[in-house]
Symmetry: C2
Subunit: 185 residues, 2 copies
């Protein structure tokens, strides 16, 4: 029987083994994540996530995960799903949370409860083409973390900093990531 | 009985009326979108989207929309949902699609089918803290659009450019958007 060290529900032994393996072979850390989208009609469209590449191999083992996107009626939609900028906040929320929890586990800090709120300011004058000065994307996103566990406020602040330092979605949003959009013939 | 001009399933009359109203009162265009997240245990966490502010009022009329996030086993997870960087691609896919369809409707271009594929390169040496040089977020995201309709290739390329120009999620990712993360006492 094997015993693993589990902290915050994360297998810390597996995490450290992964780090050691990646140190020996950095190609293990190269991942490609994917999605597809099909327009339905009007504002509703549907995305699908399934396969990815990572740890030197294709992984097609997951069942397809389907996401409906739409807009509320005030934005010409039919409420058939959250809208794309809300999905962006969902992505950010999951990534900051997992980054915090995993890095706390690596430092042997046990967390009891972690919750967070997200709010982004969007001025649709950009989308509507009414102003070249107003940003088309979110102007600012604010995040509020609530952490329950028996550590100091300074340690909680340190966890919030680690989440930002190591979260892929946070860094994708804050660092001007290149997105190359092609037309397929 | 009212007659509306519908292009691509989008009420183009409502779109132009909205533009006229926003020209008169730009505050109508200021929106605040929101999400919440609750950590479950380990890598799984759950996000919720419901209320937003826009068109000068709070809107709490939608049913809560719940999203499960997790990681695949190779990333210490249990496959209980797509992972956060995949949700980011979902957000981008919906936003580029809706931006293209709405701006085509405004230009009276009828679309038949629109689909798209997304792939982002992520080197987990950043997340794992093994390199300060490797970006923590996506290094590059590639997007491939397939558009079926009776217009020229040049017009299709123009639609792809409009999608990029007017998509809030695309511009949030490519323009280094500030994200302020706070600890709540």
């Amino acid at each position: 029987m094997d015993w693993f060290k589990i902290v915050n529900g994360i297998n810390a032994d597996q995490l450290f083994q992964t780090i050691d393996l990646v140190k020996e072979n950095p190609d293990l850390a190269r991942f490609k994540f994917r999605a597809q989208n099909t327009w339905i009609n009007g504002t509703p469209n549907r995305a699908m996530v399934k396969d990815f590449y990572g740890a030197l191999q294709e992984d097609d083992s997951r069942e397809p995960m389907v996401f409906d996107l739409d807009e509320p009626p005030v934005l010409c939609g039919e409420n058939k799903g959250a809208n794309p900028v809300e999905y962006l906040l969902v992505a950010l929320s999951g990534c900051l949370t997992t980054s915090m929890v995993a890095h706390a586990a690596a430092k042997d800090i046990t967390l009891e409860k972690v919750s967070s709120r997200y709010e982004g300011d969007l001025d649709l004058q950009g989308f509507l083409g009414l102003s070249e000065e107003v940003p088309v994307g979110y102007q600012t996103i604010r995040v509020y973390f609530h952490i329950e566990t028996d550590i100091s406020e300074a340690q909680k602040e340190e966890l919030v900093k680690m989440a930002q330092k190591y979260s892929p979605v946070y860094n994708t949003i804050t660092k001007a990531t290149p997105v190359m959009v092609h037309l397929e013939k």
